[in-house]
Symmetry: D2
Subunit: 504 residues, 4 copies
């Protein structure tokens, strides 16, 4: 699920009260954020309890809010909360209220603005034919255009999510059959989506024509399960059946499973960042272990960019698998030269007599005796703004490292994402504006290297990137966006959102 | 603002979790509840602070929730909260966020079900022409019919309030001018309403064709003020200008005040319960002091139904003004034979070894030495289910009263209201199903009398009720509803509401 | 229970964070505050539920906090909360945790400072002989002196209440028998107290040698009950047995009731303010109905200070009974010329363009049509600082009253209290520093009169005050304090309190 | 800081409401818990802000609660909260209230019972000489005995912590000088302690005669700093000066630093678990890097107990450093075969149709493609009850591991701790009651080995354990307790605690 508005509109007319940039904010801002995880289950007496577990396994895809809608044969029930799944969906009364043997659920990523309940999914609408509830992972690239058009026709929009646009399109469709109405809506939207939805009879899954965001199908006894990643099947003991295909709508009813294709079958192009960063290491996507892929990227990186050093040091936690691969390939020792503080998360009051590096110290600390006097290579999985890299190189030097080399197990990020990953504007991306040498200088490292674009495809088992039919969506590295970006083609829009139902 | 659904649907499909009937519930249920108070101000630098004060003065009209929307020339700002005005709108940050020199606000009455944020007003919608926010006191009697029709045309409704229907009608109007769109919507709705609304240029007030719910216009320096009652003008020091007329739309802009009539001018028919029960005693409606009217009803009651007793005892607090009138007219002493506990409000754990009358004792206590051995007449302003009367008569007898007579300063309530007063179904109304003698017996009083319908008009300064053109809406006593009740004409509807934005 | 520290120490070293003086603060400050209500019950299976009800009936004696301790034959259980009884002690789990057939409870009055949990009673201590819990209404006048002495001997004090001193004295007593230890402690303290306490075998009540604060004994089946006022017996259906005597310790055990006198029997001297202001109107103290006494004071006031006016107007709610008496005696009509807003309680944001009288308007409003053009006499029960009187006289004049006369049904308060009533320093008491004419001028009234000291005794059924052996403690009017005020004899003490157990 | 009561009293008379054993509880119970971290700073304008940072760095030592007391030259200020440092001490108003240039702080570990504010440190007491505040890491083994004695002399104890005993001993000392009073108290207590305390003139540190718990001294400009571990010096940029010695009291005043020995100088015996488990890996204790020591233990383990497997898999996170050492020494690949879910923390509703291994799956998941068909050796740092080992071995087998060997980098835990580590009763310790083979069978591992006692000393750089003068306190492995355990010598005590100040 994406926000409806473009980056230019961050200073939007909605009353958002942002705090000042803080010690930790740059740490957060210097990461990529996936926006969502989705889950659904059909025909299981413990539908809501299993959905809670599935969402817990998908928690890494979104920590801001979570929601579940169930259907008990007669009524829909909904529970939606700000915060972690484990904070709210572990209570017996909450699960008991979510009656029924069908349920869908959603986790949403953590951001400071726009964190209002009306945007928490699943969204629900009362159609003439009955209730319909929808969960979305991804981002629609023509939602704003569609929304303007809907409003000019008298539609009242309440949420700020692109997902609501789908609901209006389904509500306004003149088809009679629900699946036809849903497909008619899909044919109007552009962008990335993995949808999990539910009516009073059906569990519905759908992936966009490129399959940019992941969605898997599983089976637990007589129940069908849909989830963003296989790790959500594992936690409930469901067996993996197959991936939902790109351009496929899959429907589970009491008569079994139906599959509808709404666009001709083409090779999928999953977002490569799922492997690099987002998916949980124990998930298996398209037959590949995410952990193995990350290690293979580290190995490939070691081949492409060796370093003459004493040890390999991961930037925890995301750099660990690639660092293990790098160490194994290079034969260098793997050492925790940086310790992560697991209790971080807040901004402390800055003492007036300034402490150097306070921000980074709240989250990481140098394992000083380990790195003192050593030549080290730091391994990270990606560089966004580069500010974290800068601080960590400094921290290593202050701890006494003799040389600090930096190796990155993904190519330089030169373009923003518009498919559900929260990236900064292009002018904030370190690699968009600097040569490799300028980046090295910015970070203060003794050397810097990124894996090559072909190298990352090699780590996935290909000979390299197939430039004619790229195997993945890799626009952040190449600028090749797989879809039109219609909302960005006109001038920036500035509209006050409805707050018909805003909490305050 | 009214609920959209009919009494038959109290056992509705929405997941409402009601507690068991409790000691105090019958006390609450045995009263009438007004559903709302509205307020708006145009062109004052302290718009939000003054709106908070105005809503505080209107707090008796609704204690469940309160909300304010302001407009600062560029953006709308909204704050809506469950609870009292004084609990939330007294904080400097809240008021400071409500920037601008225009604001509208709303208080909503307290009920246990349906108490969700999405229903808290003001409602806001983003029209093609810009924002529009609306507050409603009253109830539309064809809202359900209109809503069904809107949904069949693809509208997505989120709140359970009839007020939202207006927003959809305005959004879908094909008129170009805002006032024309708003009037077009008004011409489609039936029932009772006092609206206060706001666009980015206008403050808007409107009363239904009968003027069932009150709305006054005031002036504070260069600012225009709209409010449900004059007491809200008093608290901010505004001067009373006039009542908004029945069938009138009033618009304040920077060019001054406009008045539009959307139906031909007819005599108004205010709901007589405003005088009997709802309005604050210090409010002045149509030139009459509410306190004076209530005293006059007590005087008239003394004339119609004298009692040969030692003292007049009001049932606090609502029976006090009529009791003073009764005592003055009859020459009997006025005494507080019943003491009200100001800290009541919750249901205590019932000791297993039963205490008689626990419920009533939590709220009232007998002033025993005062009533012991005395003949008393109890004065109350109305009887709904009769359960409170029953308990209080018992309490007086247990305290040693020799005779207990009951006098009611309004006529018997035989019909439910559909214009914004929360009345029980007709079969729960004591007077709908019993003769006077049966009611007396039910209460256990030595005698019982109600003021006559003509008597209540006499207390208002008329010779009696003008049956051809009744001066007030008095359907609860007479069964003469001023409008069609379209939603009640078909079979009961059972629709799951959208919870697109429900909090949970 | 009193605070340990003297007025001079209001600006004490403890970290208290007071807000600025606000609109409503003067309303609150211009009243007298009783500090507590106590309750205890022995040998009833519903001990905690009944204690909750008893405390609810005593809520007018203290709204800041409430607490209950029960004993189940083996263990003591405690629940203490900030806020009203009805807010916390109405929950089944809370009452269920308070197991046992003995319980004691306490309500404490509302103030802004010092509102920390460590001060919430009942206090509990683990003596060598077992647990002992104590509730206190009153104030010890040598507690500070005793506390200094205890600390010098190595005692660690945690609360800021004088009550804790008793616990230390009992803990350090070298007597073996509990009652002897308790009496030894009582013989060391000076001041006012009504204690209700409990060990694992006994329910204990005690009143100071003068009986300054009230305490009654009741019976409910086989259970013994102790309570500050008879209204707490009424709510649970207990029958009144007798007052606990001044200088008496009363002990309920399974062997029955014991009475111990620790000082020779002398006439009691109840604090006369219990009748004037504190007790609930339906309570009966020493055989007198509080409501009747207040009306009699109004009657006496009418005899002493008649007014040539059109109507009698009470200042709600406390002036109502005296106003009824005044009206009855004088034959003048009794009218609600001032309406009280029941939802007040918070300070609203002051609009920058000042509204006159905002504070008083939040709580009271003029019943304008009633008073316009009339000569009125306002009746109040007491004057402390005089600021409320001033504002209300102004409000009546703004509403158009032709003449505004003020009559007070208690004598001028010229001296502060040190026995559990929260009075301002003497220099803040209006009557301590001004002649009657100066007070009238301060208030802006056309005339002003107080009841005489002898008059108030007459209203109680005496010929007048017996100056040799005054029938009541009336030091606030006469300056005759019944006990030594030892803590005030030395220089002001400034000690940091322990916050061993402070919440934060 | 320790609890006062012995294990036998877990079913104690205090009203504790424990939940049933849950899915995650065994995970928590199967770990060792350190009870506290302490911090103090003298003579720095940002004393409170720096204390908050220091406590954040020590958060791993206790997550239940945190508190800070500051002194501003005139008054003490206190803030104590349940929860993490980052949740409460990051707010500007909280830090601003903690005025002054001296401060001490404390973090306390997370447990389910006894979590009441009165036990949250720093404790504060008002002595005759002025305020004294104290923070404690460790546990006194004769506190109960001392407490009984104090109560018999009339002391009133409120907290359930052993720390309070020290305060009473200081309060009752008849010495005149504060240091003498404090030392007199220290000479009466037995057990383990690292104290950080503060009077209005002094910052005080003290370690018990064996130096069981760590305490370091640092310097930041002109300020002196005391902290449990060096990582708390690092975060504020302070430089390490030296360890506080065993049996030393260190006092910082404006005149500089004083050192007092209260027992003759002997070799220290730090608790060896600080190296094995508690301390943060980047801390340096006695010149040794904790991370290096852990790796060395892994290396030594590889020497003592090699495994013929395909890879080394750490049990995250605590087994990671030893696994790295084991892999390096053995030349086997180091792989993350188990993925930790960082968002765990709550107990989910168990679906009725049971899911195997739900508990462990909430926290860990198998990296299935990595371990399938492989022979693996799992490395953990310790075994307490063995339940986690059991579940993880099962999880590895279900994931398809061909062989699962278990290696533990500390010796078998056969005896409980009484010095501030929360261990289960001896009968719950796996190694106390089983042979190695029985333990292997319990876990279901193909083989099991622990490092030897001498081996662990070798990893620390010694030739082995010096049985005459052991270099560390290692009673959990050897049963040799360095001090008397006086409270355990008599029969179990059952006393109701005071809840003078309990919150409820």
């Amino acid at each position: 699920m994406g926000r409806l508005f473009m980056d230019d509109e961050r200073s939007s007319p909605v009353t958002d009260h942002h705090d000042e940039t803080t010690q930790l904010q740059w740490l957060e801002e210097d990461r990529l954020h996936e926006e969502c995880g989705v889950f659904g289950i059909f025909n299981h007496p413990d539908a809501a309890a299993l959905t809670a577990l599935g969402l817990h396994a998908l928690q890494h895809r979104g920590q801001e809010a979570a929601g579940i809608v169930s259907f008990d044969g007669e009524h829909f029930h909904t529970e939606r909360r700000m915060g972690l799944v484990g904070d709210h969906f572990t209570s017996r009364p909450v699960i008991d209220r979510l009656k029924g043997d069908m349920a869908v659920g959603h986790v949403r990523y953590s951001t400071t603005g726009d964190a209002v309940m009306r945007n928490v999914q699943p969204l629900f609408v009362d159609l003439e034919s009955g209730g319909f509830t929808l969960c979305h992972n991804g981002n629609l690239t023509n939602a704003l255009t569609l929304r303007e058009n809907l409003i000019s026709k008298g539609a009242i929009c309440q949420s700020t999510t692109d997902t609501e646009v789908i609901l209006h399109l389904v509500a306004r469709s003149e088809k009679r059959n629900f699946v036809e109405r849903f497909v008619e809506a899909l044919l109007q939207v552009e962008g990335a989506y993995a949808f999990v939805g539910m009516t009073n009879k059906k569990l519905i899954g759908a992936r966009d024509p490129y399959g940019i965001r992941p969605l898997v199908l599983g089976r637990l006894g007589d129940a069908w399960v849909l989830a963003s990643e296989s790790c959500a099947l594992d936690i409930i003991g469901a067996e993996f059946v197959r991936e939902v295909e790109n351009g496929e709508v899959i429907i589970a009813t009491k008569d079994g499973l139906e599959s509808h294709r709404f666009v001709p079958k083409n090779p999928a192009r999953l977002c490569i960042f799922e492997y690099i960063y987002f998916a949980r290491p124990d998930s298996i996507i398209d037959g590949r272990s995410v952990y193995d892929v990350r290690k293979a990227m580290g190995r490939q990186l070691a081949l492409e960019a060796p370093a003459d050093v004493d040890m390999v040091v991961p930037i925890p936690d995301s750099g660990v698998p690639a660092a293990i691969g790098y160490a194994q390939e290079s034969g260098l020792p793997f050492e925790y030269g940086i310790i992560r503080n697991h209790y971080v998360g807040r901004t402390f009051i800055e003492p007036e007599q300034q402490i150097r590096q306070l921000g980074v110290k709240l989250k990481h600390s140098a394992n000083e005796l380990q790195v003192r006097g050593k030549r080290i290579v730091l391994i990270d999985d990606s560089v966004v703004r580069g500010t974290t890299s800068l601080k960590i190189v400094q921290m290593m030097r202050e701890a006494g490292a003799k040389e600090v080399h930096m190796r990155i197990s993904s190519p330089p990020i030169t373009h923003p994402d518009f498919y559900g990953i929260d990236t900064p504007n292009q002018d904030k991306l370190l690699a968009a504006n600097r040569t490799l040498e300028e980046m090295r200088e910015f970070m203060g490292a003794d050397s810097l290297a990124f894996i090559s674009v072909d190298g990352i495809y090699r780590a996935m088992g290909f000979d390299g990137r197939d430039d004619d039919n790229p195997q993945f969506t890799d626009h952040c590295f190449t600028g090749e966006y797989p879809t039109r970006l219609r909302d960005r083609e006109g001038p920036p829009q500035q509209k006050q959102l409805s707050f018909l139902a805003e909490v305050g």
